[in-house]
């Protein structure tokens, strides 16, 4: 197939060609970046929380006097443990996807000079680490005497477990076991490393720190209470949670049950990622609409050109061109136009990505998005032009002989 005559024909329609090239370029730029945004959101939504989400539920009570914490814990724990099907109950400050309750900046030196980032502190009473289903990959699980009693926020000196990702951030490449870190006057020593434990609001402080958590074993005493971790068989969990709601209103009538938070961990997760799901849906909608409109533009323009060139097509057919030649002519023409659009679109895609990087903390667009985007647009162009091109190929040679 000769490209020269196609280019000569396109030169006759410079403006229309330029516009369709521009449209494809814009589509290419938006397509690549929108797909990248979707991939980022999906990646976030697939976050591994490190806990047995499907078996866990959370109960949170408010509105009681701090002085009665120990008594309240005793009443509620006894009440909850009596629910049939309940596997275990323990006191914990919060769970992943519930409200953030222990986020704080830490330093890797006692003087507070080397800032180590903001992390989530989970304070859990005995039994909670097993109940969560946390996997310890190095070091050891807390022993009975590791559960310290405390009076304000955290124990002043504690042996704790950190996540792999936090350990790698604080002490890159080094063995984290036995390392120390500080938060103001509180001192911590790493006794074990957890595979995963997501922060309560993953992504809220950036995607990198979504797993920067510290598990502090504590005795609930009178300083930790009102929030409880429930474990039951996933099949029983909804019923157990319903009964738990009823039980706490009975055994602790002077408190307020926080219904937004007192749900299964899976439900909390679903709510937390709702916004990302909405955004993904919106981006998918934009991609579909954009591809649709681009395809419509190609169909519309190609149809016009076919109609306009009926006589020329007839003449070509009359002097020996086959149907396949005509078909290939329009397909090649479309390929050239789309290629031009893609070339311009790649530059635009990178420009758009730079803009997004400065305003929306998005990483750099990986290069492999470009060939994928190009293939998608080439395929779209060929599909869109197929109809008009087949109609062109069907033009009978006799057209050439009619009314000149």
């Amino acid at each position: 197939m000769q490209i020269q005559p196609i280019l000569a024909a396109l030169r006759k329609h410079r403006l229309a060609t330029l516009l369709i090239v521009l449209e494809i370029a814009l589509a290419c730029a938006v397509l690549c970046n929108a797909c990248f945004l979707i991939a980022n959101r999906l990646g976030m939504m697939q976050l591994v929380s490190g806990v047995d989400e499907s078996s866990l539920a959370f109960i949170r009570l408010t509105g009681y006097d701090d002085k009665i914490t120990a008594d309240l814990n005793a009443r509620v724990l006894a009440g909850l443990r009596a629910i049939p099907g309940m596997q275990s109950v323990s006191v914990i400050n919060t769970v992943p996807f519930a409200q953030q309750r222990g986020a704080s900046g830490i330093t890797t030196d006692a003087a507070g000079q080397h800032f180590g980032g903001v992390v989530d502190f989970y304070t859990g009473a005995p039994g909670s680490i097993e109940e969560l289903g946390l996997r310890v990959v190095a070091g050891q699980r807390p022993q009975a005497d590791d559960y310290r009693s405390f009076s304000n926020f955290l124990p002043t000196d504690a042996r704790v477990l950190v996540t792999q990702s936090l350990a790698e951030h604080l002490w890159p490449g080094a063995d984290p076991l036995g390392r120390e870190f500080w938060m103001d006057k509180y001192h911590f020593r790493v006794m074990g490393v957890l595979a995963h434990l997501a922060v309560a609001r993953p992504g809220g402080r950036g995607a990198n720190s979504a797993d920067w958590s510290v598990f502090v074993p504590v005795q609930a005493g009178s300083s930790l209470g009102g929030s409880y971790l429930l474990r039951a068989d996933p099949a029983n969990l909804p019923r157990v949670l319903r009964e738990a709601h009823a039980v706490v209103t009975k055994v602790a009538p002077d408190t307020v049950l926080d219904r937004d938070e007192s749900r299964t961990v899976s439900a909390l997760r679903h709510t937390w990622f709702q916004r990302d799901r909405t955004m993904t849906g919106m981006l998918l909608g934009v991609i579909v609409a954009l591809l649709l409109v681009t395809a419509l533009g190609i169909v519309g323009l190609a149809s016009f050109w076919v109609q306009q060139r009926r006589r020329q097509i007839g003449i070509r057919r009359a002097i020996g061109a086959t149907r396949a030649d005509i078909l290939r002519y329009f397909q090649t023409e479309n390929f050239l136009i789309v290629s031009g659009g893609i070339a311009l679109g790649m530059a635009l895609a990178f420009g758009l990505n730079l803009l997004l990087m400065t305003h929306y903390e998005l990483p750099r667009l990986p290069l492999y998005y470009l060939p994928i985007g190009a293939l998608a647009l080439w395929a779209l162009g060929q599909l869109a032009v197929l109809g008009p091109a087949l109609r062109a190929a069907a033009v009978p040679p006799v057209v050439a002989t009619r009314s000149v």
Partner: protein, 467 residues
């Protein structure tokens, strides 16, 4: 035949019946109606293509108007008529060596207790009030009601007059009540009804947290959206104050504060609300004239200079600022990044749709070169052709606007189902409704400009020869 299907034997009126081009001065309306007729005929001739163009502009307009409406309701004036006279001062009491860690809240967005009290007692503005958000547990005495949490505001006496809070019953408290730390409360209509049914609760006692308060007023449900006077951590589009308590009582009783409490000195007890090293209050003033605004700004600078001389402030006194209400909202930047990104996506999409329509109209108009040439040869001027084609583009715009309106309503419906706090507000008002049509017509006429210009520059002689 290829180019001239306007002349191919079917009855396509090329001229208005009994009318010539030059007579249009006494028949502008006729001419317009005639062009409209031509446009409809031309659009009907290729239904599929017309539908494609209407669909493209409808999708683009629908998506754009959805996001423009969302942005419009989010950045709308929360207190029309009053907002121009409301200002919020801004001091910088931070030590020189303090620096912002990460993207946490800016400590100097809020006031410390000593600064707020100094400004309040200076009485340099017509009205001034210090305030902070709070959350308290209501313990109803009525049978059948369990304790529940409510959000409200601790404020000084001028709060109600400053913001023009309407009252259903009773009134706010006085500066004397502030000084006396009077245990009084103003309830919202919603909370009042919940606690006292239809009888108004004036004079009754409500137990909030650990104290009893006497109800002295019931405010009509009054929720400026966004809640401009709340601090950065609030849900500005969904929160509404259910109670109002004197600020002095809140400080006296160490009531719980909702909002950022940023401290830059090592205080032994973090619950010291009156510390000059912790910011947690919001402060608003009413200033009626530009002269008052300038005078107040000067007062803030002088106050900062005085505090600097006393050794309390370390930073330049020129850091003191005075924000207007809308200026403050812009500074707070309440619109989430996701919404901005979606708006840009929608506008980008509209742009792609318009490019598409330009290309299609160009092809369509140029195909009618023959028809246009005949009209030109019969005396129509370029501007007549331009007008005729422009009207055709506008007809597509009107149809696209109707479709866009439907799509925008669907888009807004889906926005309302989002879990975000602004979701409830996503409703289209009259200006937005008209704006949809305006945008649709402007977009399609703009898209039609270039093709129409190209088409009316067709050389008639050359075209007529080939007919």
């Amino acid at each position: 035949m290829g180019r001239g299907n306007a002349l191919d034997g079917k009855s396509h009126p090329l001229l208005p019946p009994g009318k010539q081009g030059e007579e249009k001065t006494n028949g502008v309306f006729d001419m317009f109606a005639y062009y409209l007729d031509l446009a409809l005929r031309s659009l009907k001739r290729n239904k599929v293509l017309t539908a494609l163009m209407v669909l493209a502009i409808g999708l683009g307009i629908g998506a754009s108007m959805t996001m423009i409406t969302v942005l419009h309701v989010m950045t709308d004036d929360p207190l029309p008529g009053r907002s121009a006279r409301l200002f919020t001062p801004h001091l910088d009491p931070l030590p020189l060596n303090s620096k912002q860690e990460g993207d946490g809240p800016d400590p100097i967005d809020n006031f410390t207790w000593p600064d707020a009290m100094a400004l309040l007692n200076a009485h340099r503005a017509k009205r001034q009030a210090a305030m902070a958000g709070g959350s308290l547990l209501v313990r109803p005495t009525q049978a059948g009601l369990r304790p529940f949490d409510v959000d409200g505001r601790y404020a000084t006496a001028d709060f109600f007059a400053l913001f023009g809070v309407p009252f259903e019953h009773g009134q706010g408290w006085s500066a004397a009540d502030d000084a006396a730390r009077a245990r009084v409360v103003v309830l919202s209509d919603t909370l009042d009804r919940k606690l006292f049914g239809n009888a108004d609760g004036i004079g009754q006692t409500v137990r909030l947290g650990d104290n009893d308060y006497r109800v002295i007023g019931v405010a009509a449900d009054w929720g400026p959206k966004p809640m401009f006077y709340a601090d950065a951590s609030a849900q500005h589009y969904s929160d509404a104050d259910q109670f109002f308590l004197p600020l002095s009582v809140a400080v006296d009783q160490k009531l719980q504060i909702n909002g950022n409490e940023s401290s830059w000195v090592k205080v032994a007890d973090p619950s010291v609300m009156t510390s000059d090293g912790m910011s947690w209050l919001q402060f608003w003033v009413q200033l009626d004239s530009p002269a008052q605004v300038n005078a107040y700004h000067q007062f803030l600078v002088d106050y900062s200079a005085q505090q600097k001389a006393l050794g309390r402030f370390e930073r330049p006194s020129a850091n003191a600022k005075l924000y207007s209400l809308m200026g403050w909202l812009a500074h707070e930047n309440l619109v989430p990044n996701d919404v901005r990104l979606q708006l840009w996506l929608a506008l980008g999409f509209l742009f792609v749709c318009m490019t598409n329509i330009v290309a299609l109209l160009l092809a369509k108009f140029l195909r009618r070169s023959g028809e246009i040439s005949v009209r030109r040869a019969l005396g129509a001027r370029r501007r007549d052709i331009f007008l005729q084609l422009g009207i055709e583009a506008a007809v597509i715009g009107v149809a696209g606007g109707v479709l866009g309106l439907l799509i925008a309503q669907f888009g807004l419906w889906s926005v309302r189902r989002r879990p975000d706090d602004y979701a409830e507000l996503a409703q289209m008002d009259m200006p937005m409704l008209l704006g949809t049509f305006a945008l649709a017509i402007v977009a399609s006429v703009l898209a039609g400009l270039l093709p129409a210009w190209r088409a009316c520059r067709v050389a008639p002689a050359l075209q007529l020869k080939t007919l």
